[in-house]
Symmetry: C2
Subunit: 416 residues, 2 copies
């Protein structure tokens, strides 16, 4: 019998009725002969309540690191509750089940509280429970240090727990249940012709995740890729008796027979463009600027440098996350003399639109198709950046939907 | 430096403002040179919320034992939250502190989930933390089995945790902070002349606790007596800067120099009297009745048997808790033929009033004083029961306050 990991997020376990629905999905897999480990998040809203209390206890207010060991002790209690409730629910459905906290397995992490990294998951105890026919209900998001303190894994932590457990017990698949039924060629709210992908490669999913498609967190995809764990994205919002559908399988590129040139079109409105004018045109200017931003933990994404008409002067444009924009401007302004620019401007009215596909590696003309499709619709490109399997452009935010639809059609995704 | 255990219940940590107040009380003891371990309950209302969820998850509804291992996993999360929040609060006040869950110390219990008994608390880790100048904030009410499952200790569990910790680390005292400022000679809501006792013996406190004075739970007093841990009852509801007062010290009888004959007057309205009429007057009748009630876990308190005027027939009166009354009547009715009584009646309109004092052991005439005081006020005594340090009478509930006040005066407690 093969082992399966199922993961349910906060909205899927938001109340007792939904927990019972999760119980039925688990029971169906057990009946199908699977040995099941289930990873659960805290009930929707509970983590926020706990975090607010820790803020009130003064961590944030007093300038202490809110992500300390006590923060983790408080916040990890949310997943403990869900795990116990789901185990009870499964027992009441006639299944054998028990809950597992991070410290009971144990899920050993480093001691970077609030954003801990999983270091080891000894598979013996969990494997024995699964082989004994018991459903293992695992509290997601949490681990334990070698010294015995509770840790939490930070954003997307429960996805990471699920993939790590799947790797540890050598599960055939890690099913991530969420509020969508798979990964789409683009956001269906923008393009009704968006199609669910049957399969997508880890690398494509990584680009999708980091570009704003919020289905899976980047860290969990990285871990799945590192351990070659197939991940399936499925919807937990199915009616009783209804199957959750096929979802989308995230897997190694080699296992995708029909490779598409472009698998999806992603977008992000969470960008701000900062422009520096009249920079001195000599070596070291870039390191003056981006060194300071890196020191302040401001993440810079796209960068383009252009020569101004004035002899010996250049302009520089780069993008940062919207929430970092004001801080980034302050940082460069404070160093205006050292950097030597004449003026700075910030534009938050921009969006980044990207096409992603492993097929780009072996095909030419992908960029040309993109630029032509955008030009045909009169969309002006402000900045361009590329990776091996991705081309991103920064455009006026007002054109976001138009650009997404045009690219979806241009790469033949409408007819997929 | 001496070690001190402080314990705060749910109402004392009901919100962040109250947790900060607790923090100030802890800080005052640290400043006074004490090595402090603090035991906390869940925030008021939280345990009920968690228990309601476990009921909803089907444990109660499906006839399963609600006190199973998953119930404990869910419910124990409440104390985890408070312990983390208080540790954060203390750190923000400039103290060194950390939280300890039952499994981290560990507080080893048996596996009677929902009502576990503490079996062992290795003092090494906790003692080292205290000696290192760190306040230990301990989640009350919870423990861990040798197999690593979370347990809870049942009613009064956090008091029991506090006393057990005090015994384990050989604390000079276990301070139980509550919503009253000590143990009184009687309920001040009934008798305004009630006085706070400076000291009371374990045995007297046990009788007080089991007779309805809700200050300390019986189990914690039993444990304090077994390990000879002095327990102090104090109020946590003091204003900033104000000292919590002296409270009442519960200690060994030997340490009480001036022994009173009667230390307190207690009462309970939680009684029901069941009367069986026309019983056959032969051996074995009592065991017929009380054997059946014991088998059904009905706790019988006072018992009196009297001969009826009819030759060879007797009447029997006994008391049970009000919530067991209907069940007790059903049980005896179902066995009417075997027991052989003619009629049964139940009276819920009764109260038990008791006088308690270790001085009774060496003084005579205590009962006489009681009966005369009640007779003088026209209070009819229905049933009497006594122990070495206690005399209880069952009376018409309407006379409860009158009887309490009369006895308080009769034993000189008004003028204490």
């Amino acid at each position: 019998m093969s082992r399966l990991v199922m993961k349910f997020g906060g909205t899927s376990v938001a109340d007792l009725e939904r927990i019972r629905r999760v119980g039925r999905l688990v029971a169906a897999e057990v009946e199908a002969g699977k040995k099941v480990a289930v990873v659960v998040s805290a009930m929707a809203g509970k983590t926020n309540e706990l975090v607010a209390w820790t803020d009130g206890a003064g961590a944030a207010a007093q300038g202490l690191d809110p992500s300390d060991d006590e923060y983790d002790t408080v916040v990890a209690s949310g997943e403990q509750v869900t795990a116990g409730l789901l185990a009870m629910t499964l027992r009441n459905m006639g299944l054998r089940a028990r809950s597992w906290m991070g410290w009971q397995i144990p899920i050993v992490t480093d001691d970077a509280h609030g954003r801990a990294r999983i270091e080891d998951i000894p598979p013996e105890k969990l494997g024995a429970a699964l082989d004994g026919g018991e459903v293992a209900v695992i509290a997601g998001f949490q681990g334990v240090t070698p010294g015995g303190r509770i840790t939490t894994l930070g954003r997307g932590g429960s996805d990471t727990t699920a993939v790590a457990i799947a790797a540890a017990v050598k599960a055939e698949c890690c099913d991530i249940y969420t509020d969508v039924d798979g990964v789409y060629t683009t956001d269906p709210r923008i393009e009704a012709k968006a199609r669910r992908l049957a399969k997508i490669s880890y690398e494509e999913m990584l680009e999708m995740a980091s570009l704003g498609a919020k289905v899976l967190h980047t860290r969990s995809v990285e871990m799945a890729m590192a351990h070659n764990v197939p991940v399936r994205v499925l919807s937990s919002f199915v009616e009783p008796g209804e199957a959750p559908g096929q979802g989308t399988i995230v897997c190694d590129e080699e296992e995708i027979v029909e490779k598409r040139i472009v698998s999806g079109v992603a977008y992000s409105r969470d960008e701000a463009k900062i422009s520096l004018f009249g920079l001195p045109d000599h070596p070291g200017v870039s390191s003056e600027i981006f060194g300071r931003l890196a020191d302040a933990n401001v993440n810079v994404d796209m960068i383009v440098q252009s020569h101004a008409r004035t002899e010996g002067a250049a302009n520089m444009e780069f993008t940062v996350g919207k929430r970092d924009a004001a801080r980034a401007v302050d940082i460069v302004r404070a160093a205006q003399k050292e950097i030597g620019f004449q003026d700075v401007a910030v534009d938050e009215d921009v969006a980044k639109v990207s096409v992603i596909g492993v097929g780009m590696r072996s095909h030419t003309g992908v960029a040309k198709t993109m630029f032509k499709a955008l030009a045909d619709k009169g969309v002006n490109i402000q900045v361009i950046s590329t990776s091996e399997i991705k081309i991103s452009v920064l455009i006026d935010a007002a054109y976001t939907e138009l650009a997404v639809r045009a690219l979806h059609a241009a790469y033949g995704l409408d007819a997929l």
